[in-house]
Structures are given as structure tokens and as C-alpha cells.
Amino acid sequence: MDGGTEEHERLVASVEESTSRSLVPVPVVEPGPEQDEASVDGRRSDVDEWGRSQSMRALARRIYDPIYSKWFRVEWEGLENIPTEGGALLVANHAAAIPSDAPVIMHGIETELGRPVYGLADNFFKRVPVVGTLWSRLGGLPAHPDNAYRLLKEQGQLVLVFPEGSKGPAKPFNERYQLRRFGRGGFVEIAMQAGVPVVPIAVVGAEESMPTLFRLPHLASFIGAPYVPVTANMLALGPLGVATYFPAKFKLRVLEPVTFNVPPDQERYSRSRVMDWSEAIRDRIQNALYDMLRNRRSVWFG
């Protein structure tokens, strides 16, 4: 009882204080200490403060599932390497003119493990009308270190990044499965700051799903896109090929998580250490790719 009256007195005091200060002639809304930020009533849509919509994510999963299981016939190995709780930074090789690996990884982990995966991508998408909005509703975010840190550290989520950036999907078909530079190692730094492991993933199949034959750099710089590809799909299927993948067999291998023995939340980490780790992780993915390709009998049947 005592605690109750104390609570009551405190509440009365706070109300008095707030009314003596309130000038604007609108009713005072009592916030209430247990107010939950997520359950704001009066909302008209289910778009959360990140811009994602659970209903649209569910719809997209339903539409994408046949493509995942029937078209690409995705097979995973080493899924046990992905932590079942807490943040982790997933890092994979990036390929295909319109990257087919991102949705495969995100959908795969969500269906196999029941954990959402948030992909960080080049902010070019955000500038394209409709596409940018859809992308953000489905959980896509611009690749900004603050975004990654918040998801990994404060929310303990799985975050997917492609350190090659747009250099991966832009590379021509004759250089397939040759990893590009892993940026400037920013992904290692973020994982160190957030104190989470990096989980490397090797993806086989994406390169053949939409091979880039050559690029149109002038058009790309004209429209401000990172690259404009001419793909084998376009030549084979005409206009339909712009958005149709070849049914390449997808195989994914999740490698051992990499943990860093450094204190989190440091402003800067030793550059040489960051670059060494970045290079080591790139090597692991590259070697896993070589190993998987050695054992691949057919592009279409695996």
C-alpha cells in the first residue's frame, strides 16, 4: 500500500508541475510510464518506424517462395553456423546483373530458421520511385554504418551485407566467382563496434541466373545508376529477360562464424587488423566457392 500512495503522490506532483507549465490550450495527454512505443494506437498502417511493413513482408514471402523452392531449388549447408539469437553480420559474395542472391539468402534464413534478415544495399534503390518504397517496406536499408550498428547492437538482428558492393554484380560473366575487393573493410569495423560475429556465406548459382555480357557505362552515368548491364537473359528472352532469371541451381554454404577479440564501441580500430580480417574473410569465401565449384556437375542441376 505504501508504495502505492507514494506512486500516487509522485503522479499528482508531476501532473501539477506539468499543468503549471502548460500553456498551449490543448488537453494534456498523460503518457503513462508503461506506454509501449511499438503499440501506438491510432495508426492507419502497419509501417513501423524503420519503414518496413510486416504484412508486405509476409505477402512478398508468399510470392517469392515458389521461386525459391521450385525455380532456384535452393540447398543450404552449414545453417547451424548462423546464431539462433543475437546479432550477427552475414557476409556473402554478390552476383547476377539484378542480384538474385540477396532475396535467396534473406528468404532462405527466414524460412529455414524463422529469423528475419535485414539487407543493407546501395542507396541507388532509394532514389528510384516505387522500387525504393517497396524495398524499404520489405526491410531494405541504405548501407550506412549507423543502420548496421543499430540493427546489430541495439536490436540483435541478422544483417546481410555484400562487401563487394556493386562491383560484384557489375562484373562480366567471364570473371564469375572471382571475388572483388571487399570495400575498405567497413563491415569488419561495424562487427567489431557492435561486438557481433561475422558469418561468411558462399553462394553458387547466382552468377548463372543472370549473366552480364557487357555494360553500358555511358547510359549508367547518364541515369546515375552504378552500372547498366546487358544480360544473356535479355538476348535469350527479349524484353521478358530484363526481369527473368535462368533457373540455375542455387547452393549456399554457411562458413564458421568469425569472432573478433576486441572491445566493442571503440571509435576506431587498427586499420591493419581490420584489413587483415577483411582479407581473411574474403579468402575463406573464395576458397569455399572454389571447393563448391569443383564439385558442381551441372549449372542447372547442381
Binding site: S22, V26, P31, S45, W50, G51, V131, L141, D146, N147
Partner: protein, 348 residues
Amino acid sequence: MSGTSRRVLVTGLGTFWGGRVAQTLEADPEVEVIVGLDTTEPTVELERTEYVRVDANYSILARIVRAAQIDTIIHTFLVVDPTQMSARAMHEINVIGTMNLFAAASAPASTVRNVVVKSSTIVYGCAASDPVWFKEDTPSSRPARRGVERNLEAVEGYVRDFAQDNPHVNVSMLRFANVIGAELETPLTRALELPLVPSLAGFDPRFQFVHEADVIRSILFVLDHNLAGVFNVAGDGLLPWSEVAQLCGKRTAPLPPIGTSLITGPLAQLGLVDLPEEYLQLLRFGRGVDNSRLKDFGFRYQYNSVQAVEAFIEAVRLRNTIGTGQPTYRYERDVEQFFRHSPAVIRD
């Protein structure tokens, strides 16, 4: 207020911000003197605030600060709505005004010990490469190009310099998100009062709002707690622009996302839609700011973003039905002087 009396200078007394802050301070017995500066007369009724008319860039400020032994400056006179005046006039008020204010505050033997500056989250800019939330120390994604952004950058530069040169002064700077409520008129509130709310086709960015009451409360909170540093002030939660329109009971009118200014230019000329470049960009990419810093010091918002929009639209509905309601206050110099200084008035 930590047991000491205060002598406060409020800039921008004629605006919503300055007027409301001064009104609140009048209720506080520990505030001994309130001097309000502006180029225009106050629009709200004030009991004991002394109004001093100044020119736009406060050339007599140093004398006022010295004569009134001011110890606290609340600088609210910063224009962040570019539709109100020309870029040149805005520069004069924002940049030159702030410069003179801090020159006066840092004069030798200055009595100033607390400074609160109103800034805006516009200073973060708005670009595709922005983070989902800006923290107080996140740099903007690209250099400021437009009027207000550049003004605020210069202003914040003066504030930082002043804080660095005067470590004994508590300097705090509040960056307000889109302010909304019953009274304040901004390009966004004007857009939401149109029959069709302008939007950009294919874009539905997230918006964050802060209610007027929380704006005033946050200024006083910072003052009460002697906080120093930069703080974002924005309600919890972000909602897509289409939902903001829905909450207001409106439909959106999508403008073409390419060559938008070709459409908005003539519309502005006709006086129909007045969306400056800063706000068009906001309709494209939106902006979110992290409000946890001020909350960590114990500040509690009365309104989140949704509640702020609802309070706004309720006030609009009321206004549309019964008109402005309250009799409008007019400042009469002689009347105010009589009540403040005439020996005939009995004061306690």
C-alpha cells in the same frame, strides 16, 4: 531552477517560440527579469516581460545584456521556413543575428552563464544515403547546398565556437524535428491543410513530428537541468507521409518525382502549394532522428509523432468550424508600459 534567480533574455519574442517561452517563464517565480527582443511586436499576452524592439541583427544587444545583467539567453529567433522571407533577409536574421548575439554574450565581464539555442533537424540535410536515424553526432550525408541548411550550419558553427571559447557557460542546442500543433504554421502544416496533400509519386518517406507543447517543455527542461550539448527533439515513432495524410483525413495528390520543380514553381506562383526545395526533398527521402539523448536525461515527451499529428488535425477541425476562436491580442505600447511601470498600479 536550482535555487538561483535568473535574468533571462529571449530572442524572437514576436514568434510563437519566443512568446510561448516567455509566457512560461513568467509563471516561474525564480525568473527575476525577462527581456524579449524582436523586430515585431509580441503576439501573445505577457505580464512582466519587457519587450525591446531591435533591428534584425541586434546591433544594440551588447548594451542590453550589460544593462540588464542577463545571465540566461534563449535564442529562438531562427527562421527555418524559407517561404517567409527572402534568402537575404533570412541570412541576416539567422547568421548575422546569431553572430551579434554571441559577440554580445562573450563580451568581457559578460554575466551570461546559460545559453539555449533553437536549431532544426534540417541541418542534417536529406539524401538517399542518410541513415534511418540521425544521432546528434552523425554528420550529414552531403554538404549543405540550400539556404536554410547553410544558415543553420553557420549558426551551429557560431554556437560551437562560443561554447569552446566560454567553457564556464552552459551552451545547449536543440534540434527540433517537424514541429506541429495547434498554432504554428510551417510549410508542412500548410501542405496538410490543403484539400489534397502533395506528395511525390512513388515515394512514401517516413516523417517524425514533435508537438508544440513538447518544444516549449524541452527548452525549459534543458534550462532547468543546466544541460549542455546538442540534443535532438522529436517525438517517438515515424510514420509514412501517406499515413500522415490519412490521419488528417486527406488524400494525397502525387506530383511527378522527376522535374518536380517545374510543377511546384508555377503552383507556388499561383499561391496554391508552397513547398520549398528542403521540403520537397523531405517528401522524397524523409528524415528520422534519434531522440534518446534527451530522454536519457529524463525528459518525457507528452506526444509521440502520431499524437502530435492528431492534436494538430483536431485543432484544424476546430478552427475550420468556429474560426480562430480566441480574440487576437494586440500589443499596445502605452498600455503595457502602464501596467509594468506606472506607480498607480499596485504590484505585490
